[in-house]
Amino acid sequence: MDNRDLELLELKYWAGETTLPEEEVLQRAARAGSEGLSADYKRLVGLADQSREAELDPAFEAEFWARVEGGKSSGARIFTIAHFIRYAAVGIVLVALGLGMWDIISEDHLPEGQLISAVEDTYESPEQAFEEAKKALLFASQKLNKGAAPVEEIKRFHTTKMSIIGQGAENQ
């Protein structure tokens, strides 16, 4: 589909006249950064994609069945051992001794260093640490710029288009 077709299809979209297959075409083109589409639309697709990432945590279903089997539907949350074992890796040990008798380790009684962070420097000399910090920051910096760049280009595209076509065209 060429840019002109996409432009027209996008107009249809804003008019609320597109079909689902047509919207899929538009979305794919938007993700590919097609020039036939407006920056607004591309941004909207980006947002929708991001929003769709929100999901329930993996424990949701297990919690549900536990609730069903517990016979309570009044909102009480019942935690099974499976639920805790999933998180055993983080160093918490919970011992269930039977109905209502949980040996709880509250925040106050945690073994030292398990949840309370003991800050131990990885490097002994500041020179070594500095080198590592430098590398890490450069890495982060490059990624930061990577993210900003495409948006800069979209903005430039937007400005150029505005000045060629004249005011208002972008807003149709």
Binding site: G16, L44, A48, R52, L56, S73
Partner: protein
């Protein structure tokens, strides 16, 4: 219906239901609670589910109702003032990097979508985020197909206007 079947036919909708609830409640915990409650109800009425023509639409419809109930219960006010968005965009001191970041517009679009009337926001979410057909959306929101079309048109138009606003600020 046994657990296995419930798992395979109903549980599979949980993420969409969650996102839908999130659109109403804006809070992860609340949205999760709503989905849990709806699942409980579905489980309790599982023998009647065979009669439902469109199970997914039914699940989403229940989610919407529960979410609306919850909003009423908690007394949350959904702001309907479209202008509420603009002051935040223009008064916050942006550093150059923040103006171009994805989040700023995301946060404001989300808040803007929330400022739309409920059916417009819901239609937008169900169509443009989850890809449901107009027919399905009509079932989920209990409106006819023409109203769905009108809502989609209005929602997209309103959101686009705000996108334009954000852009011109960034220049």
């Amino acid at each position: 219906m046994q657990q296995q079947e419930f798992s395979e036919t109903i549980m599979v909708f949980r993420h969409k239901m969650y996102r839908f609830a999130l659109g109403y409640l804006k809070d992860e915990e609340d949205a999760k609670d709503v989905v849990q409650d709806v699942m409980i109800k579905l489980w309790e009425t599982r023998s009647e589910l065979k009669e439902k023509l469109n199970l997914e639409a039914w699940c989403m419809s229940l989610t919407r109702n529960k979410a609306l109930d919850r909003i009423k219960q908690v007394g949350r006010k959904r702001k309907s003032d479209l202008d509420e968005v603009s002051p935040e965009v223009f008064s916050h001191s942006f550093s150059p990097l923040r103006v171009v970041s994805d989040l700023e517009s995301h946060a404001h679009i989300t808040r803007f979508a929330a400022a739309l009337p409920e059916k417009q926001q819901a239609t937008f979410q169900l169509r443009d985020m989850e890809g449901y057909s107009y027919l399905e959306i009509g079932e989920m929101l209990n409106i006819d197909i023409n109203q769905v079309k009108v809502n989609i048109f209005r929602a997209r138009k309103a959101i686009r206007e705000n996108l334009v606003k954000l852009y011109s600020y960034g220049q």
